[in-house]
Symmetry: C2
C-alpha cells in the first residue's frame, strides 16, 4: 500500500497510482483528523471522493501516529488524549471514536485502536499495553457490529456500497513470545475481517521483528488477510511474505525519493551522487516505470541537485513502481511455486544501506 498520509500519496496523482497499478492506498486517520478535519471530509462525501481515489483505502486507527507525533499524550483505559502537532489542539480518541472517525472517512478497511508499545519496552508495560489493546479491540468490534458499519456504508457514496467497511484487528505484545501468542489468540477470537501485526519495525533488531511475526503467524486464520504494519525494506517484505504475511504499508518509496534515493534490485542508489552526473542510463535498466521509460540518471540527478520538484516526483514514481512490481512478482512466483528461489535470489543480491533506514 503506497502511503497517502494527508489524503495524497506525496507528489502523486490518483491517475498515476492507477497507471502504477496500485491496488490500495493507506491514509493516516490522525493526520486527516488534525487537518483538514473529519467533518470537512464528511462534507465531501468521504475520503474516496475527497481525494478522488476510487480504489480501496485502508486507514490506520490513528493510535500509532498519536504515540509518535502528538504531544502530551495521556493514555487511559478510556482512550488517549493528546495535543496535535499542527495547532496543539487537545483531542480525545477512544476505541468507539476511532471507529466512528473511520466510518465517516468511509474507507474500505478500518483498523482497531491499539497501543503500539515502544522498543525497548519492559515486560510488565508490554503485557498491560497488549491487554488494553485487546480490550480496545473488543470495544471496536462491538461498536462496529452495532452501528458504525451502517454509518460507513452511508458515507461511502463512491465505493462499492454493497461491501461494508472491513475491520482488522491488531496483534501486539512487543518482543515477548508469550504476549504475542496471548494477544494473537485473543484478537483472533474476536473474529476480525483481517489481522495486522503491530509493534514491529519500531526500532528493534530485524531478528526480533521476524520472531514477532513467526510467533504470531500460526494463530492467524489462513483465509484472512495478514498485514505486517509499517514495513519495510524490499528484502524485509519478501521475508515477511515467506512468513505468511499478505499486506504491507511503507513510507520508504516516497520518503526516500524526497531524499534523492531510488530503489534498484541490488539496493538503493542516491541520485545526488556525483557518479551519476554523466549517466545516460535510466535509474534501473529494463524498468517499466514512467521515469525509467523517459529519463536518465544524469537528468534526474540534475533535478535533485537543483532542488526541482520534478526530481523527487520522478524518483517517487520509480520507487512506487519498484515496490508494487516486487509484490506483483512475489504473487506470481507464489502461484508458480517458485517463491523461495525468487526470494533467496533477490535477498542475496540486495544490499540494505543503514542510511536508508534513518531517513525521517
Amino acid at each position: 500500500m503506497p502511503v497517502g498520509t494527508q489524503g495524497t500519496v506525496k507528489a502523486v496523482m490518483p491517475r498515476e497510482l492507477r497507471e502504477l497499478r496500485a491496488q490500495i492506498v493507506l491514509a493516516n486517520t490522525y493526520h486527516l483528523l488534525v487537518r483538514p478535519g473529519i467533518d470537512l471530509i464528511k462534507h465531501f462525501g468521504g475520503l474516496h471522493t475527497f481525494m478522488n481515489w476510487q480504489g480501496p483505502i485502508l486507514t490506520d486507527s490513528g493510535g500509532y501516529q498519536i504515540f509518535s507525533l502528538a504531544k502530551l499524550r495521556k493514555i487511559t483505559e478510556e482512550g488517549v488524549e493528546f495535543q496535535n502537532h499542527v495547532d496543539g489542539a487537545r483531542t480525545f480518541i477512544s476505541p468507539a471514536i476511532a471507529m466512528e472517525i473511520q466510518a465517516v472517512l468511509g474507507t474500505d478497511i478500518a483498523m482497531v485502536l491499539d497501543e503500539c508499545a515502544p522498543y525497548p519496552c519492559d515486560y510488565d508495560y508490554a503485557a498491560q499495553s497488549a491487554e488494553m489493546t485487546m480490550r480496545w479491540a473488543k470495544l471496536c468490534k462491538e461498536v462496529t457490529s452495532a452501528s458504525s458499519r451502517f454509518l460507513a456504508q452511508d458515507h461511502r457514496q463512491d465505493a462499492d456500497a454493497t461491501s461494508p467497511q472491513q475491520l482488522f484487528g491488531i496483534v501486539q505484545g512487543a518482543t515477548f513470545d508469550d504476549l504475542r501468542r496471548e494477544s494473537a489468540q485473543a484478537i483472533v477470537n474476536l473474529n476480525f475481517d483481517g489481522y495486522a501485526i503491530g509493534g514491529v519495525s519500531v526500532g528493534e533488531p530485524e531478528e526480533e521483528m521476524m520472531r514477532a511475526v513467526e510467533t504470531t503467524e500460526p494463530f492467524l486464520p489462513k483465509d484472512r488477510p495478514r498485514y505486517a504494519m509499517g514495513l519495510g525494506t524490499p528484502p524485509q517484505l519478501l521475508e515477511m511474505i515467506a512468513r505468511g504475511m499478505d499486506m504491507f504499508d511503507c513510507v520508504l518509496p516516497t520518503r526516500l525519493a524526497r531524499n534523492g534515493t531510488a530503489f534498484t534490485a541490488t539496493g538503493t542508489i542516491n541520485l545526488k551522487n556525483a557518479r551519476f552526473a554523466l549517466d545516460k542510463c535510466p535509474i534501473e535498466e529494463n524498468c517499466a516505470c514512467p521515469t525509467c521509460q523517459e529519463f536518465t540518471r544524469g537528468y534526474v540527478r540534475h533535478l535533485v541537485k537543483a532542488e526541482e520538484i520534478l526530481g523527487l516526483r520522478l524518483i517517487t514514481l520509480h520507487n512506487l513502481h519498484f515496490y508494487l512490481e516486487l509484490m506483483r512478482q512475489a504473487r506470481e512466483q507464489i502461484q508458480r511455486g517458485t517463491f523461495d528461489e525468487f526470494r533467496e535470489h533477490f535477498v542475496s543480491n540486495y544490499e540494505t544501506r543503514d542510511a536508508d533506514l534513518m531517513v525521517q
Copy 2:
C-alpha cells in the same frame, strides 16, 4: 512559452506539457550554464535530449538573469563578467560565447546577448546600453552566420536536423521613444529570424510598457515573429497581442501556483483562503484542465494548506492550461476577426491583483 528555467517546467513532466498542448518552452541559459553546466548538457546530446522534450525550445541569452541574479557583474564592451548565485564561480560571457552556449544547448530559437536596462534609468545610460546591445547583436549575428549554426545543427540530434537554429534580435531603449525607434531600426537591419522587445516588464508602469511596444512595433517586419519578453498577466498578453505581439514567456502561471494562486477568467484566487475549504467546485467551472476535471477547490486547498506537493502541481497544471488556452482562443478569435471584442470582454471582466505581481 511555459518557463523551464532549470531544464524543467517546475513540477511538470514533458508528457504533461504535451497533454497541455504547449507548443514551445523557454529555458534559461544562465541557469543551465551555472547548473548542470553546458558541457554536461552537451554530453547528453543537447537540451532536448537532456530534458526529454522534443518540441521547440527557446533559450534566452543569459543576459537578463546575469543582470538580475548574479553578483559582482562587470559589464564592458567585450561582455559581462559575473559571479553566479549558486557557487559564486566567476564566468565571462561575450556575444560570441552566448551564441556558442546556445548552439551547444541545441535549442530551436536562440536570443542575442543584450543588456536589459533597469527601470528607472537615465537617458544617457539607456542610450549607451541600447547602442552596446546593437553592437552585441551584430556580433551575435556575425558569429552565427559564420559557424555556430552548423554547430547548433550538430548538437540537435533529436530535433529536426534540417531546420537550423533561429536567432532573434532584441530591441532595447528603456522608456525613451527615440531610443526604442533607433534600436528597432538597427536590430531589424541585421535581419534576424524574429524580434523581441526587451526591457519591458522590469517594474515600469503598464502605460510605459505599452508605449515601448507601440513605439517599436511599426519597425518590426510583419512576416517575422515578435516576442514581448517576460510578460505578463492575462490582460497584458491580450493587450500585447492587440499591439502586434506573437510570443510571450511568463513565470506567473508556475510561480503563482507555488503560492497557492490559481488563474480564472475574472482574476486570480488564492486557494489558501478559508472560503474554499468546503468548496466542491473545480478551480474554474468548465475548465478542461486535468486538475479541474478531477479535483475540487476544497481538496486543492487542503493540499496547499498541508504543504503537499500535489497541491502546487495541480495548480501549476491548471495555470499553464489557462495561459495556453487563452493564447489558443486569441489565435482563433484573430482568425475569426473577432479578437477585439474578445479582448475587451476578457480585460473588462478580469481584475488584476497587485499581490500577484509582487510574488517572487
